[in-house]
């Protein structure tokens, strides 16, 4: 099925395309919003803005792909669900560093490669 993009999606994806991770933050309270809470983008008088995230976080869960679903994603590869330091959760590929397998609770940091954002274990 065709993906339908709003301005919200395009903006987030464009930040990542520029090697930048930004998250929605309410400038009034300083609190970050979950990426699901999209409605601020078109809410009149919203005090929420895209702001740079630290890019660090903790692994909440992860999966390893053993079945190839797409040519541009040769198996095996790992995707982790990460809780960013500011609170919001984000899914992204996980880069294995040597024998480093992901673990729930592992500290990670975001980097960028040709496919976009990828989490690396914190060293």
């Amino acid at each position: 099925m065709q993906t339908l993009y709003d301005e919200y999606d395009k903006e987030f994806l464009a930040f990542v395309g520029n090697n930048e991770l930004r998250i929605p933050v309410d400038t009034k309270t300083g609190k970050a919003l979950g990426l699901h809470a999209r409605s601020w983008r078109k809410t009149a008088g919203s005090t929420v803005q895209w702001q740079p995230a630290k890019g660090t976080g903790t692994v909440i869960s992860y999966v390893e792909f053993h079945r190839q679903y797409a040519e541009d994603f040769p198996i095996p590869y790992t995707v982790a669900l990460v809780e960013l330091a500011e609170g919001p959760q984000l899914l992204a590929r996980f880069a294995h560093a040597g024998d480093d397998e992901p673990e729930v609770g592992m500290a990670v940091s975001a980097r960028f490669d040709s496919k976009g954002l990828i989490f690396h274990p914190m060293t």
Binding site: M1, T3, L4, Y5, D6, Y8, D9, F12, L13, A32, L33, G34, L35, H36, A37, R38, I60, S61, Y62, V63, E64, F65, H66, R67, Y69, A70, D72, F73, Y77, V79, L81, E83, G87, P88, Q89, L90, L91, A92, R93, V104, K115, G116, L117
Partner: protein
């Protein structure tokens, strides 16, 4: 005075079910509707409501509202497609029951039809990027593909939190296979051991192939009517005593409650309350269990096991034939067949009627039937019984 049933299921109809192409979803839907109407001892002219459930990954025109014309159903007082993903089939029965209760219709047919297995196989039908993050397109960009991946992510959290093991996930698959062996309509009936399970290939770890549902082509329809009218039909009525929904949504924010928890407990609470029962009164379950983990989670979220205890409960054999709480007695989605929400619903009707043959449960007093859609996002359940009044 005992509480009266909300409505009743009076007819159940199947099209042919197959792993091969056997026609379009629209054709199969019509076949199932006709079979259900005949099963209820009715004629097409007596149907005044039609509810349709299409697969969320199918084109809406595969089973259009024009199905009404295919069947020459005239003067319908109720016609809609219900679009709540895997919870839709149970929701159809709920909306039919409500419409009947409030006089909008007298006899409603609810149908689900799907043809996910193509001539080239069924491998790619569910290879979709499930939108979990909140940014459309993000999952595809990250290679987060396939429904299995989304459920694997949830299963891993449960494993990390509760110590759920791969062998326990396997025990659920083995339990379902034991039931399937007793069901002539089930597609996977060969005996399955834990060792067989552990030898099955990983799809998206921690989920193996045998943790995943077995899609088929086909359609199933149900006729819902008032309890009184159902009592005049050729079959014993399947009374609907409780109904609930729960849709918790996602916040994606740390500290916002228990992120593993879904809307299922809310659905359960409402259904138990309006049936005047508790989880302890449920005698068998037909869960929407597209992945092994989902069945284990449902046991906990519907209050049948304490949080974190369902995996051990399954491994101890309590959900298998001869166990104290039969679960997915036709083999469920894993070993029976995957036709989304009508798999558990049809088995619930068969069990309440007492026509389960070798797989018939001893105590069918109160069956819990669930639906679950998205990735554990949308939940609906009904409580079915052969008894017009619950004790």
């Amino acid at each position: 005075m005992k509480q009266k049933p909300i409505a009743a299921i009076a007819g159940l109809g199947f099209s042919e079910l197959s792993r091969k192409p056997i026609g379009t979803s629209r054709e199969l839907a019509a076949a199932a509707v006709d079979a259900a109407i005949t099963d209820a001892g009715l004629k097409r002219s007596e149907i005044d409501g039609l509810l349709i459930n299409r697969s969320p990954v199918a084109d809406p025109d595969e089973v259009p509202l024009r199905l009404q014309n295919d069947l020459q159903l005239r003067n319908l007082g109720l016609l809609a497609a219900i679009d709540s993903e895997g919870s839709s089939a149970v929701q159809m029965v709920q909306y039919a029951a409500m419409a009947i209760r409030h006089g909008m219709a007298k006899t409603v047919v609810c149908v689900f039809s799907d043809t996910p297995v193509k001539a080239s196989g069924g491998g790619n039908t569910f290879a979709i990027a499930m939108p979990l993050t909140g940014v459309e397109g993000w999952e595809r960009q990250q290679g987060f593909l396939g429904a299995s991946a989304a459920y694997a992510l949830a299963a891993r959290q449960h494993m990390a939190r509760n110590g759920t093991t791969e062998r326990q996930l396997g025990a659920y698959a083995v339990s379902c296979r034991k039931w399937a062996a007793l069901n002539p309509q089930a597609f996977l009936r060969t005996p399955l051991s834990i060792e067989d399970y552990l030898a099955s290939p990983m799809v998206v770890a921690p989920l193996r192939m045998l943790d995943c549902c077995y899609p088929v082509n086909g359609a199933i329809a149900l006729v819902v009517t008032s309890a009184k009218r159902a009592e005049n039909g050729p079959h014993a009525p399947v009374y609907i005593h409780g109904m609930g929904q729960g849709h918790r949504g996602r916040s994606g924010l740390r500290g916002d409650g228990d992120e593993i928890g879904t809307g299922a407990p809310q659905a359960a609470k409402m259904a138990y309350k309006n049936a005047g029962v508790t989880a302890a009164d449920v005698t068998a379950c037909e869960f929407y269990d597209a992945f092994s983990y989902v069945g284990i989670l449902a046991l906990e979220e519907y209050g049948l096991c304490k949080p974190g205890e369902a995996a051990a409960y399954v491994a101890d054999g309590h959900t298998a034939p001869g166990g104290k709480l039969p679960v997915n007695t036709g083999g469920g989605h894993l070993s029976g067949f995957y036709l989304q929400g009508v798999t558990p619903l049809s088995e619930g009707v068969i069990q309440v009627r007492g026509t389960g043959g070798e797989r018939q449960v001893v105590n069918n007093d109160l069956l819990l039937v669930t639906g679950s859609g998205g990735c554990l996002d949308y939940h609906a359940c009904v409580l079915l019984s052969p008894h017009a009044a619950l004790n």
